[in-house]
Protein backbone atom coordinates (compact mmCIF):
# COMPACT_ATOMS: atom_id res chain seq x y z
CA UNK A 1 0.00 0.00 0.00
CA UNK A 2 1.38 3.37 -0.93
CA UNK A 3 1.99 5.87 1.81
CA UNK A 4 -0.56 8.65 1.94
CA UNK A 5 1.87 11.35 2.83
CA UNK A 6 1.12 14.44 4.84
CA UNK A 7 0.47 18.13 4.60
CA UNK A 8 3.44 20.06 5.94
CA UNK A 9 1.97 23.56 5.98
CA UNK A 10 -0.88 25.63 4.67
CA UNK A 11 -0.54 29.26 3.73
CA UNK A 12 -4.02 30.71 3.72
CA UNK A 13 -5.34 33.45 1.46
CA UNK A 14 -3.79 35.60 -1.22
CA UNK A 15 -1.39 38.33 -0.40
CA UNK A 16 -2.21 41.66 -2.02
CA UNK A 17 0.41 43.49 -0.05
CA UNK A 18 3.20 44.38 -2.38
CA UNK A 19 5.73 44.89 0.36
CA UNK A 20 5.87 41.70 2.40
CA UNK A 21 4.51 38.20 2.83
CA UNK A 22 1.28 38.26 4.80
CA UNK A 23 0.30 35.31 6.93
CA UNK A 24 -3.00 34.67 8.62
CA UNK A 25 -2.64 34.59 12.41
CA UNK A 26 -6.35 34.39 13.15
CA UNK A 27 -6.00 30.64 13.51
CA UNK A 28 -3.91 31.17 16.60
CA UNK A 29 -7.10 32.27 18.36
CA UNK A 30 -8.60 28.88 17.90
CA UNK A 31 -5.48 27.27 19.25
CA UNK A 32 -3.07 24.71 18.05
CA UNK A 33 -5.53 21.84 18.19
CA UNK A 34 -7.79 23.58 15.70
CA UNK A 35 -4.86 24.10 13.35
CA UNK A 36 -4.03 20.43 13.56
CA UNK A 37 -7.65 19.54 12.83
CA UNK A 38 -7.88 21.91 9.86
CA UNK A 39 -5.12 20.07 8.03
CA UNK A 40 -7.02 16.85 7.26
CA UNK A 41 -10.02 18.92 6.19
CA UNK A 42 -7.93 20.74 3.62
CA UNK A 43 -6.39 17.46 2.57
CA UNK A 44 -9.83 16.02 1.97
CA UNK A 45 -10.90 19.09 0.00
CA UNK A 46 -7.82 18.86 -2.17
CA UNK A 47 -8.46 15.21 -2.84
CA UNK A 48 -12.13 15.74 -3.67
CA UNK A 49 -11.77 18.88 -5.74
CA UNK A 50 -8.42 18.05 -7.25
CA UNK A 51 -9.75 15.42 -9.61
CA UNK A 52 -12.51 17.63 -10.99
CA UNK A 53 -10.36 20.70 -11.39
CA UNK A 54 -7.45 18.84 -12.88
CA UNK A 55 -9.76 17.24 -15.42
CA UNK A 56 -11.00 20.70 -16.39
CA UNK A 57 -7.47 21.90 -16.75
CA UNK A 58 -6.38 18.92 -18.80
CA UNK A 59 -9.15 19.61 -21.23
CA UNK A 60 -7.93 23.12 -21.81
CA UNK A 61 -4.22 22.72 -21.76
CA UNK A 62 -1.65 20.43 -23.25
CA UNK A 63 0.86 21.20 -20.57
CA UNK A 64 -0.06 18.33 -18.31
CA UNK A 65 2.72 16.15 -17.01
CA UNK A 66 5.03 16.45 -14.11
CA UNK A 67 8.37 18.10 -14.52
CA UNK A 68 11.39 18.26 -12.35
CA UNK A 69 11.97 21.83 -11.30
CA UNK A 70 14.21 21.14 -8.36
CA UNK A 71 17.30 20.81 -10.44
CA UNK A 72 16.61 23.63 -12.83
CA UNK A 73 14.02 26.27 -12.17
CA UNK A 74 13.83 26.95 -15.88
CA UNK A 75 11.86 23.78 -16.36
CA UNK A 76 9.04 25.57 -14.64
CA UNK A 77 6.11 24.45 -12.60
CA UNK A 78 3.85 21.55 -13.17
CA UNK A 79 0.64 23.22 -14.26
CA UNK A 80 -1.97 20.63 -13.67
Amino acid sequence: MARRGKILAIKWGMNPNSSSLGVDVTFLIAGAAMIAMATPVVGALLRIRGQRQVNNALASTSRAGAVDNTADASSGSNDA
Binding site: N17, V42, A73
Partner: protein, 514 residues
Protein backbone atom coordinates in the same frame (compact mmCIF):
# COMPACT_ATOMS: atom_id res chain seq x y z
CA UNK B 1 -24.93 19.89 -26.33
CA UNK B 2 -27.19 19.75 -23.31
CA UNK B 3 -28.30 23.12 -22.01
CA UNK B 4 -27.12 23.78 -18.43
CA UNK B 5 -29.85 23.81 -15.82
CA UNK B 6 -30.87 27.01 -14.02
CA UNK B 7 -29.21 25.66 -10.90
CA UNK B 8 -25.98 25.07 -12.77
CA UNK B 9 -26.10 28.60 -14.15
CA UNK B 10 -26.67 30.06 -10.67
CA UNK B 11 -23.77 28.03 -9.31
CA UNK B 12 -21.56 29.15 -12.16
CA UNK B 13 -22.38 32.79 -11.49
CA UNK B 14 -21.72 32.34 -7.78
CA UNK B 15 -18.44 30.64 -8.51
CA UNK B 16 -17.38 33.33 -10.93
CA UNK B 17 -18.05 35.93 -8.26
CA UNK B 18 -15.58 34.22 -6.04
CA UNK B 19 -13.00 33.20 -8.59
CA UNK B 20 -12.64 35.63 -11.44
CA UNK B 21 -11.50 34.46 -14.85
CA UNK B 22 -10.94 30.91 -15.85
CA UNK B 23 -8.15 30.02 -13.50
CA UNK B 24 -10.13 27.38 -11.67
CA UNK B 25 -7.50 24.73 -11.99
CA UNK B 26 -5.25 23.74 -9.17
CA UNK B 27 -1.59 24.29 -9.86
CA UNK B 28 1.15 22.04 -8.66
CA UNK B 29 4.86 22.67 -8.24
CA UNK B 30 7.53 20.18 -7.34
CA UNK B 31 9.83 21.14 -4.47
CA UNK B 32 12.69 19.38 -2.76
CA UNK B 33 10.53 18.53 0.27
CA UNK B 34 7.63 17.37 -1.92
CA UNK B 35 5.38 19.83 -3.67
CA UNK B 36 3.18 22.90 -3.32
CA UNK B 37 -0.43 22.62 -4.40
CA UNK B 38 -2.34 25.81 -5.07
CA UNK B 39 -5.97 25.64 -4.10
CA UNK B 40 -8.21 28.44 -5.28
CA UNK B 41 -11.17 27.40 -3.17
CA UNK B 42 -10.34 27.50 -0.32
CA UNK B 43 -7.65 30.00 -1.21
CA UNK B 44 -4.46 28.45 0.02
CA UNK B 45 -1.03 27.19 -0.87
CA UNK B 46 -0.62 23.72 0.55
CA UNK B 47 2.88 22.36 1.18
CA UNK B 48 2.91 18.58 0.99
CA UNK B 49 5.56 15.92 1.36
CA UNK B 50 6.75 13.62 -1.42
CA UNK B 51 4.36 10.82 -0.58
CA UNK B 52 1.40 13.16 -0.73
CA UNK B 53 2.67 14.58 -4.01
CA UNK B 54 2.97 11.10 -5.50
CA UNK B 55 -0.52 10.20 -4.36
CA UNK B 56 -1.99 13.45 -5.60
CA UNK B 57 -0.53 13.16 -9.07
CA UNK B 58 -1.44 9.49 -9.33
CA UNK B 59 -5.01 10.18 -8.26
CA UNK B 60 -5.32 12.96 -10.79
CA UNK B 61 -3.89 11.02 -13.67
CA UNK B 62 -0.68 13.02 -13.94
CA UNK B 63 2.82 11.74 -14.47
CA UNK B 64 4.68 10.97 -11.29
CA UNK B 65 6.76 13.89 -10.06
CA UNK B 66 10.52 13.54 -10.14
CA UNK B 67 13.00 15.02 -7.72
CA UNK B 68 16.60 15.79 -8.49
CA UNK B 69 17.75 14.97 -4.98
CA UNK B 70 16.89 11.58 -3.45
CA UNK B 71 14.77 11.79 -0.33
CA UNK B 72 17.42 10.25 1.87
CA UNK B 73 19.97 12.82 0.77
CA UNK B 74 17.54 15.62 1.43
CA UNK B 75 17.10 14.30 4.95
CA UNK B 76 20.82 13.95 5.47
CA UNK B 77 21.35 17.47 4.31
CA UNK B 78 18.75 18.72 6.72
CA UNK B 79 20.32 16.86 9.60
CA UNK B 80 23.80 18.15 8.91
CA UNK B 81 22.45 21.66 9.00
CA UNK B 82 20.70 21.10 12.30
CA UNK B 83 22.21 23.12 15.07
CA UNK B 84 22.69 22.49 18.76
CA UNK B 85 19.02 22.81 19.59
CA UNK B 86 18.28 19.60 17.66
CA UNK B 87 16.02 17.26 19.55
CA UNK B 88 17.92 14.22 20.70
CA UNK B 89 16.82 11.19 18.76
CA UNK B 90 16.86 7.74 20.15
CA UNK B 91 18.60 5.04 18.19
CA UNK B 92 15.29 3.38 17.45
CA UNK B 93 13.86 6.61 16.11
CA UNK B 94 16.85 7.12 13.85
CA UNK B 95 16.59 3.57 12.52
CA UNK B 96 12.89 4.00 11.94
CA UNK B 97 13.41 7.18 10.00
CA UNK B 98 16.21 5.67 7.94
CA UNK B 99 13.99 2.76 6.99
CA UNK B 100 11.12 5.06 6.14
CA UNK B 101 13.40 7.16 3.95
CA UNK B 102 14.75 4.05 2.24
CA UNK B 103 11.23 2.83 1.53
CA UNK B 104 10.26 6.19 0.14
CA UNK B 105 13.30 6.30 -2.10
CA UNK B 106 12.78 2.81 -3.44
CA UNK B 107 9.03 3.21 -3.70
CA UNK B 108 8.31 0.33 -1.34
CA UNK B 109 6.21 2.18 1.17
CA UNK B 110 4.20 0.13 3.59
CA UNK B 111 1.61 2.61 4.64
CA UNK B 112 3.80 4.49 7.07
CA UNK B 113 2.66 8.08 7.36
CA UNK B 114 5.04 9.61 9.82
CA UNK B 115 8.63 9.09 10.59
CA UNK B 116 7.79 7.96 14.12
CA UNK B 117 5.93 4.91 12.96
CA UNK B 118 7.62 1.60 13.39
CA UNK B 119 8.36 -0.53 10.35
CA UNK B 120 6.38 -3.52 11.67
CA UNK B 121 3.38 -3.14 9.45
CA UNK B 122 4.51 -5.32 6.59
CA UNK B 123 3.22 -8.82 6.01
CA UNK B 124 -0.19 -10.20 6.99
CA UNK B 125 -0.75 -9.60 10.67
CA UNK B 126 -3.10 -11.70 12.73
CA UNK B 127 -6.22 -10.15 14.28
CA UNK B 128 -4.39 -9.54 17.55
CA UNK B 129 -1.40 -8.09 15.75
CA UNK B 130 -3.75 -5.96 13.73
CA UNK B 131 -5.45 -4.64 16.86
CA UNK B 132 -2.10 -3.95 18.44
CA UNK B 133 -1.00 -2.25 15.24
CA UNK B 134 -4.06 -0.05 15.22
CA UNK B 135 -3.61 0.87 18.88
CA UNK B 136 0.02 1.61 18.26
CA UNK B 137 -0.83 3.69 15.26
CA UNK B 138 -3.45 5.68 17.16
CA UNK B 139 -1.05 6.27 20.02
CA UNK B 140 1.69 7.31 17.63
CA UNK B 141 -0.60 9.71 15.85
CA UNK B 142 -1.75 11.17 19.16
CA UNK B 143 1.86 11.54 20.23
CA UNK B 144 2.76 13.22 16.94
CA UNK B 145 -0.19 15.57 17.31
CA UNK B 146 0.74 16.52 20.85
CA UNK B 147 4.32 17.06 19.76
CA UNK B 148 3.20 19.21 16.86
CA UNK B 149 1.01 21.48 18.93
CA UNK B 150 3.02 21.68 22.14
CA UNK B 151 4.52 25.09 22.86
CA UNK B 152 8.24 24.89 23.30
CA UNK B 153 8.70 21.94 21.02
CA UNK B 154 12.10 22.12 19.44
CA UNK B 155 11.86 23.22 15.82
CA UNK B 156 14.71 21.59 14.06
CA UNK B 157 15.52 21.88 10.42
CA UNK B 158 14.88 18.19 9.88
CA UNK B 159 11.50 18.55 11.59
CA UNK B 160 10.75 21.32 9.16
CA UNK B 161 11.66 20.10 5.68
CA UNK B 162 10.35 23.24 4.04
CA UNK B 163 13.36 25.13 5.31
CA UNK B 164 15.99 22.68 4.12
CA UNK B 165 16.77 24.72 1.03
CA UNK B 166 15.36 27.71 -0.82
CA UNK B 167 12.25 26.94 -2.85
CA UNK B 168 12.61 26.21 -6.55
CA UNK B 169 11.00 29.59 -7.22
CA UNK B 170 9.25 32.24 -5.15
CA UNK B 171 5.62 31.80 -4.16
CA UNK B 172 4.88 35.39 -5.04
CA UNK B 173 6.49 38.39 -6.64
CA UNK B 174 5.95 41.96 -5.50
CA UNK B 175 6.03 44.17 -8.54
CA UNK B 176 6.42 47.90 -8.12
CA UNK B 177 4.78 48.82 -11.40
CA UNK B 178 5.57 52.49 -10.95
CA UNK B 179 7.13 54.74 -8.36
CA UNK B 180 4.87 57.60 -9.36
CA UNK B 181 2.50 58.80 -6.65
CA UNK B 182 1.10 62.18 -5.75
CA UNK B 183 0.35 61.40 -2.11
CA UNK B 184 3.81 62.16 -0.69
CA UNK B 185 3.43 60.10 2.49
CA UNK B 186 6.20 61.01 4.89
CA UNK B 187 7.07 57.36 5.63
CA UNK B 188 6.80 56.00 2.07
CA UNK B 189 9.04 52.92 1.89
CA UNK B 190 9.74 53.41 -1.82
CA UNK B 191 10.26 57.16 -1.69
CA UNK B 192 7.57 57.59 -4.36
CA UNK B 193 7.16 60.96 -6.07
CA UNK B 194 4.98 62.48 -8.84
CA UNK B 195 7.70 61.88 -11.45
CA UNK B 196 8.50 58.37 -10.25
CA UNK B 197 11.78 56.69 -11.17
CA UNK B 198 11.91 58.18 -14.65
CA UNK B 199 15.27 59.75 -15.34
CA UNK B 200 17.00 60.89 -18.49
CA UNK B 201 18.94 57.59 -18.57
CA UNK B 202 16.31 55.12 -17.43
CA UNK B 203 12.55 54.95 -17.64
CA UNK B 204 10.07 52.96 -15.61
CA UNK B 205 8.96 49.75 -17.27
CA UNK B 206 5.82 49.68 -19.37
CA UNK B 207 3.23 47.02 -20.16
CA UNK B 208 5.31 44.98 -22.62
CA UNK B 209 8.18 44.66 -20.16
CA UNK B 210 5.90 43.64 -17.31
CA UNK B 211 4.19 41.10 -19.57
CA UNK B 212 7.59 39.63 -20.33
CA UNK B 213 8.14 39.49 -16.58
CA UNK B 214 4.86 37.64 -16.06
CA UNK B 215 5.98 35.13 -18.69
CA UNK B 216 9.20 34.59 -16.76
CA UNK B 217 7.43 34.26 -13.41
CA UNK B 218 4.91 31.81 -14.87
CA UNK B 219 7.71 29.72 -16.32
CA UNK B 220 9.42 29.69 -12.93
CA UNK B 221 6.22 28.54 -11.22
CA UNK B 222 5.24 31.66 -9.26
CA UNK B 223 1.66 31.48 -7.94
CA UNK B 224 0.76 35.08 -7.09
CA UNK B 225 1.88 38.60 -7.87
CA UNK B 226 1.22 41.56 -5.63
CA UNK B 227 1.06 44.69 -7.74
CA UNK B 228 1.92 47.96 -6.10
CA UNK B 229 3.81 51.19 -6.45
CA UNK B 230 3.83 54.14 -6.18
CA UNK B 231 0.20 54.25 -7.16
CA UNK B 232 -0.48 51.56 -9.74
CA UNK B 233 -4.17 52.38 -10.04
CA UNK B 234 -3.35 55.30 -12.35
CA UNK B 235 -1.66 53.08 -14.92
CA UNK B 236 -3.85 52.83 -18.03
CA UNK B 237 -2.69 49.28 -18.73
CA UNK B 238 -3.21 47.88 -15.21
CA UNK B 239 -6.32 45.90 -16.16
CA UNK B 240 -4.62 44.49 -19.22
CA UNK B 241 -1.71 43.30 -17.11
CA UNK B 242 -4.11 41.67 -14.62
CA UNK B 243 -5.77 39.80 -17.47
CA UNK B 244 -2.39 38.69 -18.71
CA UNK B 245 -1.52 37.32 -15.27
CA UNK B 246 -4.66 35.15 -15.25
CA UNK B 247 -3.90 33.94 -18.76
CA UNK B 248 -0.49 32.81 -17.59
CA UNK B 249 -1.92 31.10 -14.49
CA UNK B 250 -0.81 33.70 -11.95
CA UNK B 251 -3.23 35.37 -9.55
CA UNK B 252 -2.85 39.17 -9.58
CA UNK B 253 -3.47 41.02 -6.31
CA UNK B 254 -3.27 44.75 -5.80
CA UNK B 255 -2.38 47.34 -3.19
CA UNK B 256 -3.62 50.90 -3.65
CA UNK B 257 -3.77 54.04 -1.58
CA UNK B 258 -7.27 54.71 -2.84
CA UNK B 259 -6.29 58.34 -3.29
CA UNK B 260 -5.90 58.37 -7.05
CA UNK B 261 -7.26 56.52 -10.07
CA UNK B 262 -10.35 55.18 -8.29
CA UNK B 263 -12.88 55.41 -11.16
CA UNK B 264 -10.66 53.38 -13.47
CA UNK B 265 -9.88 50.90 -10.70
CA UNK B 266 -13.55 50.28 -10.01
CA UNK B 267 -13.96 49.20 -13.62
CA UNK B 268 -11.28 46.53 -13.36
CA UNK B 269 -11.61 45.56 -9.68
CA UNK B 270 -13.00 42.13 -10.49
CA UNK B 271 -9.82 41.21 -12.31
CA UNK B 272 -7.85 40.92 -9.08
CA UNK B 273 -7.81 38.12 -6.56
CA UNK B 274 -7.66 40.53 -3.62
CA UNK B 275 -7.36 44.30 -3.35
CA UNK B 276 -6.13 46.01 -0.22
CA UNK B 277 -6.29 49.75 0.43
CA UNK B 278 -3.58 51.33 2.56
CA UNK B 279 -5.20 52.81 5.66
CA UNK B 280 -2.78 53.64 8.44
CA UNK B 281 -5.30 55.03 10.89
CA UNK B 282 -8.76 56.41 11.35
CA UNK B 283 -9.50 60.12 11.25
CA UNK B 284 -6.66 62.20 12.63
CA UNK B 285 -4.46 59.16 13.16
CA UNK B 286 -4.23 58.76 9.37
CA UNK B 287 -2.73 62.23 9.09
CA UNK B 288 -0.38 61.59 11.99
CA UNK B 289 1.13 58.58 10.20
CA UNK B 290 1.03 59.83 6.62
CA UNK B 291 1.58 63.54 7.03
CA UNK B 292 -1.63 64.68 5.33
CA UNK B 293 -5.35 64.22 5.86
CA UNK B 294 -6.37 61.58 3.35
CA UNK B 295 -8.66 59.46 5.49
CA UNK B 296 -11.92 60.62 3.90
CA UNK B 297 -10.69 59.76 0.40
CA UNK B 298 -9.29 56.42 1.41
CA UNK B 299 -12.49 55.61 3.28
CA UNK B 300 -14.58 56.51 0.22
CA UNK B 301 -12.38 54.27 -1.94
CA UNK B 302 -12.78 51.35 0.44
CA UNK B 303 -16.56 51.71 0.46
CA UNK B 304 -16.75 52.00 -3.32
CA UNK B 305 -14.48 49.01 -3.91
CA UNK B 306 -16.38 46.93 -1.38
CA UNK B 307 -19.57 47.53 -3.29
CA UNK B 308 -17.89 46.08 -6.37
CA UNK B 309 -15.99 43.23 -4.83
CA UNK B 310 -15.97 41.02 -1.76
CA UNK B 311 -12.22 40.51 -1.45
CA UNK B 312 -11.32 43.98 -0.25
CA UNK B 313 -9.09 44.54 2.77
CA UNK B 314 -6.88 47.16 4.32
CA UNK B 315 -3.14 47.36 4.89
CA UNK B 316 -2.18 49.07 8.12
CA UNK B 317 1.39 50.16 8.78
CA UNK B 318 1.68 49.90 12.55
CA UNK B 319 3.54 52.74 14.17
CA UNK B 320 4.03 54.09 17.66
CA UNK B 321 1.18 56.55 17.16
CA UNK B 322 -1.50 54.25 15.73
CA UNK B 323 -0.72 51.18 17.84
CA UNK B 324 -3.41 52.07 20.36
CA UNK B 325 -5.93 52.39 17.53
CA UNK B 326 -5.65 48.82 16.31
CA UNK B 327 -8.86 47.76 17.98
CA UNK B 328 -10.75 50.66 16.40
CA UNK B 329 -9.28 49.75 13.01
CA UNK B 330 -10.51 46.16 13.40
CA UNK B 331 -13.96 47.53 14.28
CA UNK B 332 -13.87 49.72 11.18
CA UNK B 333 -12.93 46.75 8.99
CA UNK B 334 -15.76 44.71 10.44
CA UNK B 335 -18.25 47.51 9.90
CA UNK B 336 -17.19 47.86 6.26
CA UNK B 337 -17.42 44.05 5.85
CA UNK B 338 -13.82 43.84 4.69
CA UNK B 339 -12.26 40.46 4.12
CA UNK B 340 -9.05 41.09 6.03
CA UNK B 341 -6.79 43.49 7.86
CA UNK B 342 -3.10 43.14 7.11
CA UNK B 343 -0.74 44.62 9.69
CA UNK B 344 2.64 45.77 8.44
CA UNK B 345 5.65 46.64 10.52
CA UNK B 346 7.09 50.07 9.80
CA UNK B 347 10.40 49.65 7.95
CA UNK B 348 13.44 51.90 7.68
CA UNK B 349 13.26 52.10 3.91
CA UNK B 350 12.78 55.00 1.48
CA UNK B 351 11.52 58.07 3.31
CA UNK B 352 10.74 55.76 6.23
CA UNK B 353 14.44 55.64 7.11
CA UNK B 354 14.31 59.26 8.18
CA UNK B 355 13.18 59.54 11.78
CA UNK B 356 12.67 55.78 11.93
CA UNK B 357 13.47 55.49 15.62
CA UNK B 358 10.76 57.98 16.52
CA UNK B 359 8.08 56.33 14.38
CA UNK B 360 8.65 52.62 14.93
CA UNK B 361 6.86 50.77 17.70
CA UNK B 362 8.51 50.54 21.09
CA UNK B 363 9.75 47.30 22.58
CA UNK B 364 6.80 47.29 24.98
CA UNK B 365 4.41 47.58 22.04
CA UNK B 366 6.16 44.76 20.22
CA UNK B 367 5.74 42.53 23.27
CA UNK B 368 2.04 43.33 23.40
CA UNK B 369 1.50 42.99 19.67
CA UNK B 370 0.26 39.40 19.43
CA UNK B 371 -2.10 39.44 22.44
CA UNK B 372 -3.65 42.71 21.28
CA UNK B 373 -4.05 41.51 17.70
CA UNK B 374 -5.60 38.20 18.69
CA UNK B 375 -7.94 39.83 21.21
CA UNK B 376 -9.07 42.38 18.62
CA UNK B 377 -9.52 39.77 15.91
CA UNK B 378 -11.60 37.66 18.28
CA UNK B 379 -13.68 40.57 19.53
CA UNK B 380 -14.51 41.86 16.07
CA UNK B 381 -14.43 38.51 14.29
CA UNK B 382 -12.17 39.80 11.58
CA UNK B 383 -9.41 38.01 9.72
CA UNK B 384 -6.00 39.48 10.54
CA UNK B 385 -2.78 38.87 8.68
CA UNK B 386 0.64 40.08 9.69
CA UNK B 387 3.69 40.61 7.55
CA UNK B 388 6.73 38.37 7.71
CA UNK B 389 8.77 40.86 9.75
CA UNK B 390 6.40 40.37 12.70
CA UNK B 391 7.40 36.73 13.15
CA UNK B 392 9.85 37.52 16.02
CA UNK B 393 6.99 39.22 17.86
CA UNK B 394 4.84 36.12 17.40
CA UNK B 395 7.61 33.75 18.42
CA UNK B 396 8.21 35.75 21.59
CA UNK B 397 4.91 34.35 22.96
CA UNK B 398 6.02 30.79 22.22
CA UNK B 399 3.01 29.50 20.31
CA UNK B 400 5.16 26.53 19.27
CA UNK B 401 7.42 26.50 16.22
CA UNK B 402 5.52 23.61 14.71
CA UNK B 403 2.28 25.57 14.93
CA UNK B 404 3.80 28.56 13.18
CA UNK B 405 5.33 26.32 10.54
CA UNK B 406 1.99 24.63 9.99
CA UNK B 407 0.51 28.04 9.23
CA UNK B 408 3.47 28.84 6.96
CA UNK B 409 4.42 31.67 9.27
CA UNK B 410 8.03 32.33 8.44
CA UNK B 411 10.22 35.30 9.22
CA UNK B 412 12.37 36.88 6.55
CA UNK B 413 11.54 34.98 3.37
CA UNK B 414 12.99 37.55 0.97
CA UNK B 415 14.82 35.88 -1.89
CA UNK B 416 13.04 32.63 -1.10
CA UNK B 417 9.24 32.68 -0.70
CA UNK B 418 9.03 36.14 -2.24
CA UNK B 419 10.93 38.52 -4.44
CA UNK B 420 10.53 42.17 -5.26
CA UNK B 421 11.00 44.17 -8.43
CA UNK B 422 11.62 47.87 -8.74
CA UNK B 423 9.85 50.08 -11.25
CA UNK B 424 12.79 49.76 -13.65
CA UNK B 425 12.81 45.98 -13.35
CA UNK B 426 15.68 45.45 -10.91
CA UNK B 427 15.26 42.23 -8.95
CA UNK B 428 15.35 42.49 -5.15
CA UNK B 429 14.94 40.05 -2.28
CA UNK B 430 11.94 42.02 -1.04
CA UNK B 431 10.36 45.39 -1.67
CA UNK B 432 12.38 47.05 1.06
CA UNK B 433 15.75 45.66 0.05
CA UNK B 434 18.25 47.29 -2.28
CA UNK B 435 18.98 45.43 -5.53
CA UNK B 436 21.86 42.93 -5.33
CA UNK B 437 25.29 44.31 -6.31
CA UNK B 438 26.13 44.37 -10.03
CA UNK B 439 28.00 41.45 -11.57
CA UNK B 440 31.39 41.64 -13.28
CA UNK B 441 29.79 43.25 -16.30
CA UNK B 442 28.22 45.94 -14.15
CA UNK B 443 24.70 44.62 -14.65
CA UNK B 444 22.21 44.07 -11.86
CA UNK B 445 19.82 41.09 -11.99
CA UNK B 446 16.47 41.83 -13.58
CA UNK B 447 13.16 40.30 -12.67
CA UNK B 448 12.51 39.14 -16.22
CA UNK B 449 15.68 37.05 -15.91
CA UNK B 450 14.74 35.57 -12.55
CA UNK B 451 15.60 31.96 -13.30
CA UNK B 452 19.15 32.71 -14.35
CA UNK B 453 19.81 34.41 -11.01
CA UNK B 454 17.73 32.28 -8.64
CA UNK B 455 20.04 29.25 -8.41
CA UNK B 456 23.29 31.15 -8.06
CA UNK B 457 25.01 30.17 -4.81
CA UNK B 458 25.41 33.80 -3.79
CA UNK B 459 21.92 34.86 -4.82
CA UNK B 460 20.27 37.41 -2.51
CA UNK B 461 23.24 37.56 -0.13
CA UNK B 462 22.35 37.70 3.56
CA UNK B 463 18.71 36.95 2.86
CA UNK B 464 19.60 33.30 2.38
CA UNK B 465 22.24 33.08 5.08
CA UNK B 466 20.01 32.92 8.13
CA UNK B 467 21.36 29.49 9.09
CA UNK B 468 24.60 31.20 10.14
CA UNK B 469 22.83 33.43 12.64
CA UNK B 470 24.56 34.85 15.67
CA UNK B 471 23.29 34.50 19.21
CA UNK B 472 20.64 34.60 20.51
CA UNK B 473 19.09 33.41 17.23
CA UNK B 474 21.61 30.58 16.94
CA UNK B 475 20.18 28.79 19.97
CA UNK B 476 16.60 29.91 19.50
CA UNK B 477 14.12 27.12 18.89
CA UNK B 478 12.36 29.38 16.40
CA UNK B 479 15.33 30.03 14.10
CA UNK B 480 14.10 27.82 11.27
CA UNK B 481 10.75 29.60 11.41
CA UNK B 482 11.77 33.17 12.22
CA UNK B 483 15.04 33.19 10.23
CA UNK B 484 16.53 35.90 12.37
CA UNK B 485 13.81 38.48 11.74
CA UNK B 486 13.82 41.36 9.30
CA UNK B 487 17.08 41.89 7.34
CA UNK B 488 16.11 45.44 6.41
CA UNK B 489 15.73 46.47 10.04
CA UNK B 490 18.99 44.72 10.88
CA UNK B 491 20.73 46.53 8.00
CA UNK B 492 19.41 49.85 9.25
CA UNK B 493 20.95 49.06 12.65
CA UNK B 494 24.32 48.49 10.95
CA UNK B 495 24.71 44.75 10.23
CA UNK B 496 22.37 43.12 7.70
CA UNK B 497 23.21 39.59 8.83
CA UNK B 498 22.71 40.32 12.53
CA UNK B 499 19.63 39.29 14.51
CA UNK B 500 16.67 41.62 14.19
CA UNK B 501 17.46 44.23 16.86
CA UNK B 502 13.77 44.81 17.61
CA UNK B 503 12.94 41.18 18.34
CA UNK B 504 11.82 41.14 22.00
CA UNK B 505 13.95 38.07 22.67
CA UNK B 506 17.01 39.79 21.17
CA UNK B 507 16.33 42.91 23.21
CA UNK B 508 16.07 40.81 26.38
CA UNK B 509 19.23 38.86 25.52
CA UNK B 510 21.26 41.97 24.87
CA UNK B 511 20.06 43.75 27.99
CA UNK B 512 20.92 40.72 30.13
CA UNK B 513 24.36 40.43 28.48
CA UNK B 514 25.35 43.92 29.47
Amino acid sequence: MRKPSWLQRVLDVARDQRLPRDAQALRFRVEQFGAIVQSLNPRALVFVDRDYARQWTARNGLAAPRWAEPEAEAGTRAKTQTRTRTRTRTRAETQTQTRAETRAETGTGTGTETETETPTRTGSPSATDSLTGITKRVLQKARALVRAVSPGTAATLDDNPITVAPLSAPLEAHLQLTNRCNAGCKGCYTGASPQGDNTSENREWQLAQWQRTIDELAAAGVFHVALGGGESAVLPWLGELADYCWQRGIVPNLTTSGLDGLPALLEIADRFGQINVSLDGLGDAYAAVRGFDGFARADAAIRALRQRKREIGINVVVTRSNFTQLDAIFAYAKKQRLSEVELLRFKPSGRGARGYDEVRCTDAQHRLFLPIVLAGAKRHRIRVKVDCSYTPMLAFHDPGPAVLAQLAVFGCTGGDFLIGAKAQGQLTACSFAAPPPPDNNGARPRVDELRSYWNRPDAFGVFRQWRNADEPCRSCTYLSVCRGGCRVVAAHAGTPAAPDPECPSVVRFRSSSR
